[in-house]
Symmetry: C2
Subunit: 340 residues, 2 copies
């Protein structure tokens, strides 16, 4: 299919169609969507190199990935990138990954931006006062944030409702009679971890239960961390009767610690884990099956790629804010609190 045919099909001028496909801000969002959908449906493909020359764009979105520090390249990154890649593939846009030995991403941003190799950035895992968001809003470079920060400058973001998810999970455990509820959270200072802790605390306090600081732990999302923290929790007397796990990897370690202590998951100790939906770690297939707060990180990556394209097409960043609800899925790992 040629540009001419696509334009005829849509009843638009070739110029408008071309501008819509190239993300010019003169074309409004509704038209851009309509053109983009028709192009996809009818199998129209612009000549990518020609389009890049014409628009002066790099045709790549940048992601900086620290190999050290709080947020490392891990299974979450993979699912997430896979979602981003799925959306960008449709427009033949590449991903420029900049691996870093430190966790100071700003110099890497400067390098990517000054060398004009990326059109926009995707920024992940923010802290409550994220310096990267401050930097990028100040220089006015396009980006979408995965997560939230309290930096008070307009910027585009997509986040899941971590606070709400952990409020609900904790409330459910309280409904089941649990009072000593432990939590293995992500690294302190990260917004998602702070939101989760707040959700947990709010739920406890709403029932007049004071959270026990010995039962709150922060760390990386690994099997080892889950095992170590759960083991130390289970050595306390009295021990917790329920554990919230920050990830499915953490949950595997917690499960192991419960088993190693001769206890039964879902009876002696209940667990709810946060599930980012890894295809190879299916909560339904575990024995016992795992109760989870669930939100697909792949879907988030896919949507963020779409939002980046919208920002590049001129959508005001103040209008690019998405907060996704999180499901609570109850399975066999949660049961009534055992009698003391």
């Amino acid at each position: 299919m040629k540009l001419k045919e696509l334009a005829a099909e849509l009843g638009l001028s070739q110029t408008t169609v071309s501008r819509a496909l190239n993300g010019y801000p003169e074309v409004n969002e509704a038209t851009r969507q309509r053109v983009s959908e028709a192009a996809q449906r009818l199998g129209y493909r612009a000549n990518v190199s020609a389009r890049r020359l014409a628009t002066g764009r790099a045709g790549a979105i940048g992601l900086v990935l620290p190999t050290e520090g709080n947020v490392q390249f891990g299974p979450h990154t993979n699912e997430y990138l896979s979602g981003v890649a799925g959306r960008l593939a449709r427009d033949e846009i590449d991903i420029l990954l900049s691996p870093l030995e430190t966790d100071d991403e700003i110099p890497a941003f400067k390098r990517l931006i000054s060398s004009k190799r990326v059109d926009a950035l995707i920024v992940g895992s923010p802290t409550l006062a994220d310096p990267r968001v401050k930097f990028l809003t100040e220089i006015g470079f396009p980006f979408v944030l995965h997560g939230r920060t309290e930096v008070d400058k307009p910027h585009a973001w997509l986040d899941i409702d971590n606070g709400g998810a952990f409020f609900r999970a904790t409330s459910h455990l309280l409904d089941l009679g649990h009072r000593r509820i432990a939590m293995i959270n992500g690294p302190a200072g990260m917004t998602f971890a702070e939101h989760r802790e707040k959700g947990y605390r709010d739920a406890m306090l709403a029932r007049g239960v004071t959270p026990d600081p010995r039962f709150i732990a922060n760390g990386q999302f690994t099997d080892e961390t889950g095992f170590r923290f759960a083991q130390s929790f289970l050595e306390q007397n009295p021990r917790p009767t329920a554990i919230l796990a920050g990830s499915m990897m953490t949950a595997l370690g917690v499960f192991r610690a419960i088993r190693a202590a001769g206890l039964t998951l879902g009876q002696d100790v209940s667990m709810i884990a946060h599930d980012d939906v890894f295809p190879y770690l299916n909560a339904d297939n575990m024995v016992p099956s795992m109760s989870t707060t669930r939100s697909s990180i792949r879907a988030a990556g896919n949507r963020i790629a779409e939002l980046v394209l919208q920002v590049l097409a001129g959508k005001p960043v103040e209008q690019v804010h998405e907060l996704w609800p999180v499901e609570l899925v109850l399975r066999e790992s949660t049961g009534p609190a055992p009698r003391d």
Copy 2:
């Protein structure tokens, strides 16, 4: 530290040090290694942008990732990329990921090469007669292959000894008295899967056991595939007493099928799985612990990044061939064959 100081420390001219760091082929490999190690030890960092301008290099290595077809973005990709990223971070070299909707990578290669955005490519998951290797050797663009192909043109590669690994694993099961040994392999036609099947067949035939075609299956490395194939194997009469699983994800599904059939892993049915060493799926921590053929795909990614840099520094590709041995680690999932 300045270039001048680094040169003085090494007793070399600034020109030689600069050329070594920039990968000019005039500098021999031993000197390049020495300079690179000293630079890292002493914390010397060249000005990356200046270096790029001087060398005319893009400062990025390309990887094309199909989102459809036999080889998809999955947990293996993640560990592998993570290894690649770890090595490239040291030299501030980026990774240009080109996600693809099809599995025809050659047009994407052409696009990356003609736009001069990558200095070299990393090519993965080859078939026995891989058209990508044929294409890249013909046009003479630098690349390193992860895996092997029978394309008879000089090229750089790193592979693990898949044939040897499955020969040993199968031989061990035969030693334990197993005769009906099933195999859940990767997609047919992929070199690694063909090598594994050959290793398995050779081991069986060496003991006079004819492999039963009903017990050989090919598919993606997922929990679902493992479950489905294992379930169909276990419905046969007589059923296999041992199963070789192509990945840890496959193994999770096989384990589930064994449990669902009311059988005990390590007693009624033995299993050896191939373990690419995912930090969150530790074979030691499973119950029962899993016997594996083990080779870290992250380590392979890390080494491949180093080999790419060597190729870019002028090392002849005929000298860049590495075949890594694979360990057989025996744990509780393997036991003597049950009596019929």
